[in-house]
Amino acid sequence: MNKIVENTLLKEKIVWRRIEPGLEVFVLPKKGYKKKYATYSANFGSIDSHFVVEGEGEELIVPDGVAHFLEHKLFEDEEGNVFDRFAKLGVSSNAFTNFTNTTYLFSSTDHFEQCFEILLDFVQNPYFTEESVEKEKGIIEQEIRMYEDNPGWRIFFNLLTALYKEHPVHKDIAGTVESISHIDKEVLYKCYRTFYHPSNMAVFVVGDVDADKVFEQVAANLGRRNYSSQGEIKRIYPKEPRELANEKIVQELVVSQPIMNLGFKDLDVGYGGEKLFQRELATALVLDVVFGSSSKLYNELYEEGLIDDEFDAGYVAEKEYGHTIIGGETADPEKLFERLTAGIKQAQQNGISAEQFEHHRRKMTGDFLKSFNSLEFIAHNFLAYHFKGINFFNYLDVLQSLTLEDVNQRLREHFGEENRARSIIMPKIG
């Protein structure tokens, strides 16, 4: 009844069981670690703002920031604050919401079973009152204000706003002060009912634990709750056109020098699974070859003082959207833009050589292995990829399955002019 995913190179294995009514539970036993880390995720993020409410057939558009708001409010129930229950056991609990999912977590050393029970309980026990919903708005408003002053956050969302005309990925995860003012307990309950059914969720536990005991505990907890089964959730995403919303967005903030991000919207979307994983790793490899710290372009720009060592290029691949973001702080955003686009053109003409391909594959292998020290990294990635229909443990195999032609094709097709936008932060004077 348990499934086992083993990776011989990593010397790690994951034990996996599906528990009625459809919750996937994954356990990665890590001998010798003091920390036991558990996450409980709902496949519900900031982009899920238009859907059919479970049990009602009603199509609903919810205020921006509702998934994040719900995350804050689940930490309170009839008996008070959930933090207090964890605190009694010396445990820090937390949660985060991103574009596609909401994750609740704790990190314990002793009392794992008790903590795990609290986690399972509070995530399955929504309790929203008008008063508590209103009170939370002041706190989230300050969270939003904090991010408004964060240049890295602002440049990121301005870029997404430039790249995407329709898709809600361009909206801030926490929403706006205005949008959260429309959130009330009814809308929170509707979202909860739709997205927090066990079949739309998953659990990941990593640490020195016994997998079967974890499964038994989950089964007993869920068994008490008389869930009925739920059909497929109907999420409605707008059709994202090929065109950009803007070619360039500029904002002024109190910063020491300009920041420039160059983005490419992916036009090849609409699928998950291994095919998506291949596309992601192929793109990551391309970016590493063209913009990585051993590339000619990177070193020229560095020596000219156009970039610093925080300069970065990354690619995000989700089922419904995907984009590349390249950039960092710069003395001259226009010049950096010209140099990057010329560099891409040059790379497209030259192509990636077999030697470069192998070299960067080797580097990515090392990077992947190194990241397995972190229990948090393992848990977060495994579930995020699981919701995309991808087994994260297959990383090295998928990397090996790539061909030189795959990456060269990606290099030729992904970086066009019609899917390219810029976001710039300029220093505010005075």
Binding site: K34, G90, K296, G430
Partner: protein, 427 residues
Amino acid sequence: MTIFKQTRLSNGINLFVHPTDKFKTVLVQLIFHRQLAEDDVTECSLLPAVLQRGSNSYPTRQQLAHKLEELYGSELTADVSKKGERLFVVFNLNLVHDQYLPDENELLRKAMTILKDAINNPVMEGEGFKAEYVAQEKEQHEKVIKGLINDKIAYSVERCLQEMCKDEPFGVFKYGDVEKLRQIDNKSLYSFYRNFLEVSPVDLHIIGDVEPEKVNALVEEVLQFDRGDEMSIPDTVIKTESGEVKYISEKLDVNQSKLVLGYRTGLTYADDDYFALLMYNGILGGFPHSKLFQNVREKASLAYYAYSRLEKHKGLMLISAGIEGKQYKQTLEIIEKQVEDMREGDFGQEEFNNTQIGLRNQFLVEEDSPALVINRALDGMLSRRVEDTGKLLERLAAVTREDVIRIAENVKLDTVYFLSNKGAEQA
């Protein structure tokens, strides 16, 4: 975890080996100790960037990066950090343990050789480092110094510390200052470096699945450089009196105001009472169950973040919160009330117990992070107080309510720093 093995090598490097089979990696940290001083910190923080530009074997940044990538993405990074009035120039080498690599069994030696080259064989030009590298890194470093303002939370905390410790070495910014930077050239920096290598005390930490004897031999063989008489670094001066409270306010065109309060605690990691202070800080503002989070955020909805933390080698405590500018007075009152309540012993047994068990959890999980294991060893060496987790937990468990109330007397407000937006109240 067993405590590290410490050896003094023939060239005066203190080698610390932490053998453990928990990790996929081997982490090496080469740590140079300096006194934190205004006339020294700019050179110290510029050095690592210049040394990473290349060595005789890999004379450009690009070649060096390429070589590291070939070693399965081994990372060589460097930075400065401070603990009390001591500055550390730290080189990190982070690599995959080669037991996970079927075609590789000498990765540590290869990576150590790169580190050695960066330290021993920088690219030279006459009597100095290569002039072009120094000029470019000076420009980059100037941006680092000026870039502090980009992160408003870090900026406000640093500014509070600078104002608070204006007349003490601790107030020196770890990246130095632009004026001093402009005076540095490739020759002056190189002669600084020769002396730096000779006299700075040096620690080398290695953590991972390694055998101490083999590592000793490897380091003796690979990492050799000329050493002279080690400089002695004075202990950090701990001020206990704060005098009249200083109020500093600054305006920037920002959306959220930042309130930072600096306190003198008079206690450091070296003191027997340090654990009572740790408990004090935990009850006040170290956790979600703490007074600051509960009262500033949960009850009054004034902030998203509100916490306190210790500067454990300087005897300071900082409280930081991001608020609406017009709520300065209300927030300050609530914070001061929490500190007052601590002094009065107005905290419950539950707050006390939750903090004790929360701190216990934190100590235990430190063992799961290679960098935190090294950091703890460094704290211990610095305070002449090297203790294993068991001993630390014993000291934590021994703290009583009375201890916390007793040391609360020492905690004195020194500086209130307020970074405000345009619509804010005057501080």
